[in-house]
């Protein structure tokens, strides 16, 4: 029996909310699966669609973009732009037949260590049954 599939996930976390929320999860010693490698960006609004396409191209099984809740953006409105942009990217990826579970977005505030933990746990659980993402990756 093969080992259980461990999805590789890249998470783009905004510095002020989601990365801070992830820090809080750490400070509170919450446990979640180690499948996610975070990349801290200044704002979810700075997440270019190129990042997402590129992550799948480089073999990500899942990609997460996480930012401040609406109205809480450190940069006032960056997350509103992100919401629109990411929505379009998600629709596009689904249109060509990528599993919708593979690309997700969440709002995680600096106080939501628990929520961050939850989001990661659910994400990993949803990806496991899908197996490796070979559709868009180089050298599958």
């Amino acid at each position: 029996m093969a080992e259980e599939f461990e999805p590789k996930i890249v998470a783009f976390l905004c510095k002020w909310c989601s990365s801070a929320g992830s820090d809080l999860a750490g400070v509170s010693r919450m446990e979640y699966p180690p499948n996610v490698v975070p990349i801290q960006v200044m704002c979810s609004g700075s997440v270019s669609p190129l990042y997402i396409f590129s992550a799948f191209n480089k073999g990500a099984d899942g990609v997460l973009v996480s930012g401040c809740h609406p109205g809480d953006c450190h940069y006032i409105k960056g997350n509103y732009y992100a919401r629109r942009r990411i929505h379009l990217v998600k629709k596009l990826l689904e249109f060509v037949g990528l599993e919708p579970e593979r690309f997700q977005m969440s709002w995680v505030s600096a106080a939501e260590g628990t929520k961050y933990t939850q989001v990661i746990k659910e994400f990993v659980n949803e990806l496991k049954p899908l197996g490796p993402q070979n559709k868009l990756r180089r050298n599958p």
Binding site: E6, K8, V10, S19, A20, S22, D23, L24, A25, G26, V27, R29, M30, E31, Y32, P33, P34, V37, P38, I39, Q40, V41, M42, C43, G45, S46, V47, S48, P49, L50, Y51, S54, A55, K58, G59, A60, G71, D72, C73, H74, Y75, I76, K77, G78, Y81, A82, R85, T117
Partner: protein
């Protein structure tokens, strides 16, 4: 290739307990460009930092990566360490392998793998960082305070006394805010007006303070240290220098409207002075109430004014000021009573809110300090006070606690008993929150000395029955249904951000919390700063608070403003957006998305005002051509980081 040194911290067992730090160091040593990789028990300790400095010198490092705790903690430490080693501070990056790795995982092998990826990602980033110096700008050493309540007055006085010019803007005809309406203050029961008016006088006479009443901030542009403010000065139609306060005008004015200062308990004329101690001491012609400025429509006030102080031709003025710091003290209003239909507010004249009750108690109030029912001017013998009216009710009203109601309701009940010795005061409450110096004792005094009857429970309904108010509620301690026949009901309405504060916040690009109060930069560590640098928060604009808290925050905000105003120049993070002008086509999408108006069109391209830019990068994600990117977090850097995170 740039030479990078990697330093992996054990943080005692905090990291080393879950992450095999030796393995991480070994793996990183194989990474292209990494010429040095070592681990140490506490990198942030002096010996740890010295290791870094030593390695920079011995191995001729260009870059440093420290894999340790969150960058929010020790980024500054290690950047300064790198500086001490002779590197630009941006040649140092932090890989967060504690909060985002060792503390949240148990399996050592996978945590080690993840820590390796995080660290490699930081290496890929740092090797493409630019050395940058902080951007320096001169400071306009004046301040603007918005709101002339107690918080604004205090902040203006503190700034003035520190030697800085202050512009104090108040939207109403007089300064004083809500505090001037109060009768007595808890827990000392000293007269509110008696303690506030000296400060009002002081601020109005202060040589450094420029007072602008009946004025509103229209627009703020610029950035910390250099704001440009447009202030609208509304016309009062009365020249305060000429007006001798003879009061003849109000006698002839035919128009009566509800008096805001008395919260509608009395009326006032279209031309009026808000209250006797108003500052500036002058009349204002309320243009909304006045039948018309044309003498043909009325003109009676001008006719009787001997000193010709009334000038119908007065026009609104836009005054432009330059300041270096802004303090927002826009205060609060009570939660709209129209929302409290269940308590019969607005329907029954004898259901009042807390501020109205203050006016009834006040010696300068409409009843000259006698507590009388508005409906029939009789002394109420049974008064029900309802706490948390609109507060702590996430389903229907405000979710938060308005904080001061427990205390002022105790005060109200007490004052009532002092005025009406044979009366009975009932207070419906959920809990009593009396944290604060002398507060608990004050509540006890109300119960023990003044015989106030506290009933734990919520009022479900207030309705009129045979000329009396019936109050239905449940005593949750006994579980019994309670019905009280009262002469008067006083609601401790929730506190809301002041009317207009939200629009102002939008103009100033200030963040608000979900309830509309102005958001602080950090709930614990930066409670008086807003998220926009150079703008500070004071008083109830930020959250419900009582007078001493408002005053201390005002002084705190003033002190924070002084940290800017006392500088010759300010320094701004240089990790700002940069335009690659050969790729830019000037489409302006970045101009549209920039939250700080830091990008402008120029000669068919765009340019970034580096001082305004906060480096959020929304522009870079919007640009179709990668023609605008944030320094030290470029698309290229993120691309390489993604690769590293995926083990590539």
């Amino acid at each position: 290739m740039k030479r990078t040194g990697v330093f992996i911290c054990h943080c005692g067992i905090n990291i080393a307990g879950t992450v095999d730090v030796k393995k991480v160091a070994q793996e990183l040593a194989k990474h292209p460009g990494v010429v040095h990789a070592e681990d140490y028990v506490y990198m942030c300790s002096d010996p740890g930092q010295n290791l870094i400095i030593q390695a920079i010198k011995e191995k001729n490092l260009d870059n440093v990566v420290v894999a340790c705790c969150s960058p929010t903690l020790h980024e500054t430490t290690f950047r300064n360490t790198s500086k001490a080693g002779g590197l630009n501070i941006f040649r140092c990056e932090i890989a967060n392998i504690r909060e985002q790795c060792s503390w949240v995982h148990k399996d050592k092998s996978s945590a080690t793998q993840k820590a390796t990826k995080i660290t490699k990602s930081a290496v890929e980033k740092v090797r493409r960082n630019e050395s940058l110096e902080a951007i320096s700008v001169p400071v306009t050493r004046r301040a603007l305070v918005v709101g002339g309540g107690i918080a604004g007055i205090q902040a203006a006085l503190d700034l003035g006394n520190s030697g800085f010019e202050v512009i104090l803007v108040e939207k109403n005809p007089s300064i004083g805010g809500h505090m001037i309406q109060l009768s007595e203050t808890f827990p000392t029961l000293d007269c509110s007006q008696c303690i506030l008016t000296p400060k009002m006088v002081e601020v109005s006479k202060h040589p450094k303070v420029k007072l602008m009443t009946y004025s509103e901030v229209q627009d703020v542009s610029g950035y910390v240290g250099n704001f440009k403010v447009k202030i609208l000065k509304k016309p009062t139609y009365v020249d305060p220098d000429k007006c001798n306060l003879c009061d003849e005008c109000t006698k002839v004015c035919p128009i009566v409207v509800p008096n805001e200062f008395e919260l509608g308990l009395t009326g006032r004329r279209a031309i009026y002075i808000p209250f006797p101690q108003a500052i500036p001491a002058s009349y204002t012609l309320d243009i909304k109430a006045c039948p018309g400025l044309m003498p043909i429509a009325c003109g009676k006030c001008a006719d009787v004014c001997d000193v010709k102080a009334i000038d119908y031709d007065m026009k609104p003025q836009i005054i432009e000021e330059e300041v270096g710091a802004i303090i927002l003290a826009t205060g609060y209003d009570l939660y709209d009573k129209a929302n409290m239909a269940e308590y019969g507010y607005g329907k029954y004249a004898d259901v009042l809110d807390g501020l109205q009750f203050e006016r009834l108690c006040s010696a300068s109030g409409p009843t000259k300090g006698q507590i009388l029912r508005p409906s029939d001017h009789k002394e109420p013998k049974e008064v029900v006070f309802i706490q948390c009216s609109g507060s702590r009710d996430p389903e229907n009203h405000c979710a938060y606690c308005s904080k001061i109601c427990c205390m002022y309701t105790a005060k109200h009940a007490m004052l009532y008993k002092h005025h009406v010795h044979d009366g009975q005061a009932y207070i419906f409450y959920i809990d009593i929150r009396s944290g604060g110096k002398g507060y608990e004792e004050f509540v006890q005094r109300a119960v023990e000395e003044d015989g106030v009857l506290y009933l734990r429970g919520k009022v479900s309904k207030v309705f009129e029955d045979k000329g009396k108010l019936k109050v239905w509620g449940v005593d949750t301690l006994t579980g019994k249904h309670i019905e009280i026949t009262a002469d008067m009901v006083v609601l401790a309405q929730a506190m809301r951000p002041a009317q207009g504060a939200q629009e102002l916040a939008k103009k100033l690009k200030l963040a608000m919390d979900k309830d509309g109060f102005l958001a602080e930069a950090h709930p614990k560590l930066r409670p008086v700063e807003s998220v926009t640098s150079g703008m500070f928060l004071a008083g109830a604009a930020q959250a419900p608070k009582d007078i001493p808290e408002a005053v201390s925050q005002a002084s705190g905000a003033a002190a924070k403003a002084v940290t800017i105003l006392s500088q010759e120049r300010l320094y701004h993070s240089p990790t700002v957006a940069k335009v690659l002008s050969n790729l830019c086509t000037g489409c302006g999408m970045c101009v549209q998305v920039c939250p700080y108006e830091a990008i402008a069109h120029k000669d068919g391209k765009v340019e970034v005002n580096e001082v305004l830019c906060e480096g959020c990068g929304t522009c870079s994600a919007t640009c179709l051509r990668a023609a605008i990117q944030v320094k030290n977090l470029t698309l290229h850097q993120v691309h390489e980081m993604i690769n590293a995170c995926l083990g590539g």
